[in-house]
Amino acid sequence: MSNQKWETRPLEIWARAKELRANWQKSVDESASAETLILADGNTGDLDWSVGFCGVNVIEDNPLGAMLASKSDSFARKCRLASEVRGWGRELCGYVNNCWGSQFLGYQIDNSEFPYRDMSIPFPDPCDQHTKRGQQCMDLSPIPRWGGDWPMYLGEDDPLRDEALIDHKVYYMVNTIKQIEKSFGKEFDPQVIIDNIGIRPQLEEYGLRVSQLMTNIPTPISVKDLYSFYTMGTLTKVDPQETLDFWKSFVDELQWRVDNNIAAVGNERYRWMEAHPPAWHYLKYYRYMEQYGAVCVGSQYSHLMAGPVELKEDGTLGHRNIRPAPKDVKLRTIEDAIRFISTEARGHRFKDDEYFRYDAITDFAKAYHVDGAIMPLNRSGVGCTLTRKEQALRLNAIGVNTMHYENSQPGDRTDMDEHHFFDQLDSWMECQGFSKLVD
């Protein structure tokens, strides 16, 4: 491509990332024959169940469902059909229908036996269809399913309510532990949790550093690159020390890239952001936009790895709440550990921001110096239409140009007009004065 301003080069961390991801995938594939209990977790909760319970393997359905959408359209379709004919509506969630469709088929994408779950603790969310999560596996067997809560309230922070929310979280999580112990005859080890309590804060530190480095112009990596790394240690768990080592190497490499002006896109001249995950089966649009010298710096979703963040007065990103260092805190019980992990009562996910931290999306745009934003209008699940247009108006007000596209849900390609989407991208970029950069 012409107009190359900065050097580009592949990331050296790729090989290690692939290895870790492959290890995780192997652990999933072999789960069926392994002598472990398998816990279906809708997403990462506040507690590492596989750490606290020896012999319990956690398989998250979101990354599996997204992986199926990205890797094999034909298998993902088969899975979704298997779900639909059993009454699980398409508008439920592409991730869920992919993952549990595989359950109904009885085999995984590589034809290995499906690892049937032994219990389910789906994580809740203040939106979409999370109340239905974990039902597919629960109804099939039946297996126990425990529902988590994600309590919220709107309006200004209220310390008394926050305290009540945290108390409630402690209560239901401790209760869940007791019930698992009773149901499966397993003993939860709170000391292991306490001993490893520093891992998540450390991961969030590394995540924040990556987020901060991506605010650099040019950005050292694009969000498409980031997608290969951002779930390490959360949705795709491998050995904790290996995970920490990986993140340190990743941060070091990105710092080096920033110091030496190594760019994700060598002719970066337009920075854009998103809201919510992308259409996993159609990631080619990131490369398509690079033809315009346009690089995607991510979204509040992709930067969740950093934990709760905010835009500081000096224009940089920083953690919203600072936990004390684990060594400075006396943690004796699992209740103490849960309270330590729970930095915010109302949760910090980007979806919460849509309800009461309205400036979060414009702060993101400012931090990353974005010119434009592409927002999904999804029928269901993550990225669903609620507040997408309002957020676009807020972005427009600070001079960020926005575009919308319609889709079913990131794990389901059914309703996406892929060619029309590219036409729209062309119109959008051309009307902002950009034409494709060609040799």
């Binding site: 427009n396 319609e406 119109s427 051309e430 009307c431």
Partner: protein, 257 residues
């Protein structure tokens, strides 16, 4: 003398305009898009323009636009419809604040900023697509011309309502009304009102078009009943140029160098 040509290859029709140095229309012509033989149709139509106007093809700078623009293999430049519309709108109305294009496939709303740059675009999404195609199909089923459709709708009382969700459901709904022998003028009026609802939903997106300084382009702007229905819903007093169906092609031609 440099001859400027704009070719708009739309879903239903191909439009060609040729302008002189003063941006006067020397030639304008259109035909149906020709389905699988679209490239041949384009080439034949272009040749027909040249033959009738006796213009030397080498003196033309050709800009192609529309969803089928890349079938114009002899074009010098390709641009998106939104850019062509914006250019046409500025040409037709000094101080234009927005352009709305209603065609066979798409509805586009193009706001123009104070500095003349293009603002936040809005497009019809899935269920608002193909509105022009719907009206063509309805006209075909009722064996009416476009003008006859418009006249019939204008004479109706507007007593019927129909599916406003998508063109597939709308057409099926219309067939049900036909099956039940409902008055033809009311059926047509219901279809046109349904289309107006969808168009207005796009106009209610991020930036609402200006009430006084909005140019209306596209083939559907020729349907008087539809335009009246949109005006009634939106309160916009559209500026409609003489050949709104050629608007995008004219915008493309204006960008020829």
């Amino acid at each position: 003398m440099m001859i400027k040509a704009g070719i708009d290859v739309g879903l239903e029709t191909i439009k060609i305009v040729i302008l002189d140095d003063d941006n006067n229309i020397i030639v304008k012509t259109k035909t149906f898009s020709g389905g699988g033989k679209r490239k041949d149709t384009i080439n034949q139509l272009w040749q027909k323009c040249l033959d009738e106007s006796k213009i030397d093809a080498t003196a033309c700078h050709i800009v192609a636009t529309g969803m089928g623009k890349y079938d114009v293999e002899f074009a010098n430049r390709y641009i998106t419809e939104s850019l062509a519309d914006a250019t046409a709108g500025k040409h037709y109305l000094q101080g234009v604040e927005s352009i709305v294009d209603i065609g066979a496939n798409q509805v586009r709303v193009i706001p123009i900023n104070d500095d003349g740059s293009i603002g936040q675009l809005a497009f019809s999404h899935k269920c608002g697509s193909g509105l022009g195609l719907l009206l063509s199909n309805i006209a075909l089923r009722h064996e009416l011309s476009y003008e006859e459709m418009s006249d019939l709708a204008k004479s109706a009382k507007g007593e019927l309502k129909m599916n406003e969700g998508c063109i597939v459901f709308a057409e099926l709904d219309m067939l049900e009304m036909q099956n039940k022998n409902m008055p033809q003028d009311e059926i047509i009026a219901a279809v046109i009102n349904g289309v107006a609802v969808k168009i207005c939903s796009v106009m209610n997106d991020k930036v609402k078009p200006s009430k006084q300084k909005t140019v209306l382009l596209g083939g559907l702007a020729l349907n008087e009943a539809l335009v009246n229905a949109i005006k009634l819903r939106s309160g916009i007093d559209f500026v409609i140029p003489e050949f709104p169906d050629y608007g995008t092609a004219i915008g493309a031609a204006l960008l020829a160098e």
